[in-house]
Amino acid sequence: MSETLLEVEDLRTVFHTDKETIHAVDGVSFDVEAGETVGLVGESGSGKSVTARSVLGLVDEPGVIEAGSITFQGDELVGGNWDQHRGDIAIVFQDPMNSLNPVYTVGNQIKEALRIHQNLRGREATEKAVELLEDVGIPDAARRVSEYPHQFSGGMRQRAVIAIALACDPELLVCDEPTTALDVTIQAQILELLDELQREEDLGVLFITHDMGVIEETADRVNVMYAGEFVESAPVDDLFTEPRHPYTRGLLASIPGRNADGDRLPTIEGEVPTSTSEPTSCRFAPRCDYAFGACEEVHPERVRVGDVDTDHEVACLLYDDEFEETAPEGGVEAHGGESA
């Protein structure tokens, strides 16, 4: 086992608005180790990005981390202690168009981070910035360093953003949908780059996406997020070969090309509900094909499934021994993949 970088325990981030309190992240727990990629997958509005922002301490008012703990290399961060680890956790945002400030040159923005974290200025900083741009695969970096973001293409911009993140010399890289705004070929290149950097620097990566295909390629462990909760957590191979939760099955079924025989791509009807109160039922139940009576009354606990040595957890009453009697015969397995 390698060193555990980040430990998130029962994290709850809520937003207090005038009308109601929104539980955006509702009790999630996960660890990220050095050299490991942890995937976080879910629909829009499931709380992925808020989780990422919570880890970085970037939750703005009216949002607040209400409970739980985030420890980085053993130091508790919740309660405003992010400053001691600023730069150890770096983030790559979704839209490189927006995460670079258009009025400063790319080099300038890399140097800003270098100045804070490596205390480099002037010529030294410029040289280091060129070096970083070369590391992320930007050709002719010496010239590119003094260009503005609008002179970069989308893929190059994302490379520049990654270079800024690397300028902080981080231990953990949080990637918030880093490839969503890019086209597929560029996406593959960026993923390759991230993979390479991770191996070189032994980075821990928290990778957030809604794209199951990307998760399959990059992650070591996957957490499936729904309405602020993790409904299923498993090693990547296990998740893709033996998905348990009906929601995970739905997500996998809606990947084009996975079920070539169907003439229409199956979808999950409806959308992610906004969690405004403590859960009293399964939040996925209204959209679930396998829901039964108890689903409306009991909030499912996470239970361990599958082999003892695979760390596979799922929050679904279908797998809870307590409800074995009332659950429909055979559960999800009986229906197989056909209806999913």
């Binding site: 945002f93 400030n101 003094s146």
Partner: protein
């Protein structure tokens, strides 16, 4: 970097930069005395305004030494105050008539100012073409859009002429404030007495009494000479003083108070808007409450109350009460500007590069200054320009009511007030001319603001001037 230095070398070898620098030096030498005079005079005025500092020290010596530096556009180089000795004009420029000499000086002042403007524009173009690393920046588009905005250009011209008026006020007037108003019995002039057919001497104060404009029978109108051979481009005032000189000096105080109050309120508004947008939530809400409370106070009543209450304090003595006015305008006026730029600031604060900077540990103040402020400076320019127009109206309005800038310091609003009784008579010019000037200048500032807004944000609707009304407080 090597790329940059070779570029600089190439550009310097071109020769255009050298010509441009030489032209700049030449322009500066022509007016070096005036520039030094302006700076030193301002500094000395500030020092003397500090309570307890005695004016009998070495300061007046410094002042007169600076005043003796020769400059092209000065009363000494092109004098217009002379007298007719029966055959020709004495002591005027080239022996021309006082009106001609004055007209030449005033024209030269404006020619100089516009040449200076052209020089600065050429310099900017030279920088863009030769020295700037980037071939194109978004600001180029803004400049291009402004250049094709006729209304904005009109505003710029008016504002530029107004600023020139304020800068060159002493050189533009046919006489000086000290000689004509403050110390009129301490100065004597020679004039041609047509009755006795000889050159007589009289104090300026007495001459003023002989050139009153108080209706149809006693009137020195625009572009007329009085009985003492003095030329009055805008005529005289009801007390015989020269209206043109009065207005020139008045433009200076309007501009100084206006710029000071707008700069103060803009910096308050900007820093508070940055703070509100960065921290959001409760910080933002409390600022909204404070600014609403200040906005709820009737500004004109507050101005009248504060100017009356603080009338006898030392702060009211700085710049004839102008400094106090600027402070009051700033502290009541920042709310409007803060409201206007809070929106754009909140918008910028949501951009991801702010979060990126926060994530790598940049200090909040640096983020506000580096990553947020550049996006609201455009708005500051727009609202600043429009508020400046409003401030000038407010200052004029207060002096019209007899408050604000203390007499005898010239102020446009007071000229309107002084001439009010004679509007229906032959002395209509006393009120009308300053009134037209105020209208023109305020229109100019608003037009400039419109132009800047359309240039910065091409999507904005130039017809709906929601910002235009914000400035006019009193």
């Amino acid at each position: 970097m090597s790329v940059d230095t070779s570029r600089f070398g190439e550009a310097l070898g071109d020769g255009r930069t050298v010509i441009w620098l030489a032209a700049g030096l030449f322009l500066f030498v022509l007016e070096a005395g005036a520039a030094a005079n302006f700076v030193v005079g301002l500094l000395i005025d500030i020092v003397l305004a500090i309570p307890g500092v005695d004016s009998a020290g070495f300061l007046p010596g410094v002042k007169s030494a600076v005043e003796s530096i020769p400059t092209l556009l000065s009363r000494e180089t092109i004098p217009n105050q002379g007298y007719y000795d029966g055959s020709s004009y004495q002591n005027t420029f080239l022996g021309l008539a006082p009106a001609m000499a004055w007209a030449i000086r005033a024209t030269l002042v404006y020619v100089y100012a516009f040449v200076l403007l052209g020089w600065m524009w050429t310099g900017y173009r030279l920088y863009v073409e030769q020295y700037r690393v980037a071939d194109w920046t978004p600001r180029d588009d803004v400049v291009d859009r402004f250049r094709s905005h006729k209304w904005g250009i009109f505003g710029l011209l008016i504002v530029f002429m107004f600023v020139t008026m304020a800068m060159f006020a002493p050189a533009l007037g046919p006489t000086t404030v000290d000689q004509n108003m403050r110390n009129s019995y301490g100065h004597q002039i020679d004039y041609w007495d047509s009755d006795s057919q000889s050159v007589e001497t009289i104090t300026v104060g007495d001459a003023n009494l002989g050139s009153l404009s108080q209706g149809n029978d006693r009137n020195i109108g625009p572009w007329e000479y009085d009985d003492y051979g003095r030329f009055h481009p805008f005529g005289t005032m009801q007390n015989g003083r020269d209206l043109f000189t009065f207005l020139m000096m008045g433009s200076r105080i309007s501009l100084v108070i206006g710029v000071l109050s707008v700069a103060l309120s803009a910096s308050m508004a900007a820093s508070l808007a940055m703070t509100a947008a960065y921290y959001k939530g409760r910080v933002d809400l409390s600022m909204v409450l404070v600014s609403d409370a200040i906005m709820a106070m009737p500004q004109l009543l507050l101005l009248i109350m504060l100017t009356t209450v603080l009338a006898d304090t030392w702060i009211n003595e700085i710049y004839s009460g102008g400094f106090l006015l600027a402070l009051i305008f700033a502290f009541t006026g920042w709310t409007y500007m803060w409201r206007s730029i809070r929106g754009p600031a909140l918008q910028v604060s949501e951009r991801e590069w702010i979060d990126a900077a926060r994530s790598f540990g940049q200090r909040p103040t640096t983020i506000m200054r580096k990553h947020m402020l550049p996006y609201v400076t455009g708005y500051l320019l727009i609202y600043g320009s429009m508020t400046l127009g409003g401030a000038i109206i407010s200052i004029a309005g207060l002096s019209y009511l007899g408050l604000g800038v203390a007499p005898p310091t010239p102020e446009w609003g007071r000229a309107v007030n002084l001439g009010q009784d004679y509007v229906t008579t032959g002395s209509w010019h006393i009120s009308l001319i300053p009134g037209i000037l105020i209208t023109l200048v305020v229109t100019g500032f608003n037009a400039l603001g419109d132009g800047i807004r359309d240039a910065i944000d091409p999507q904005s609707d130039s017809a709906g001037g929601e910002a235009a009304g914000a400035g006019a407080g009193a």
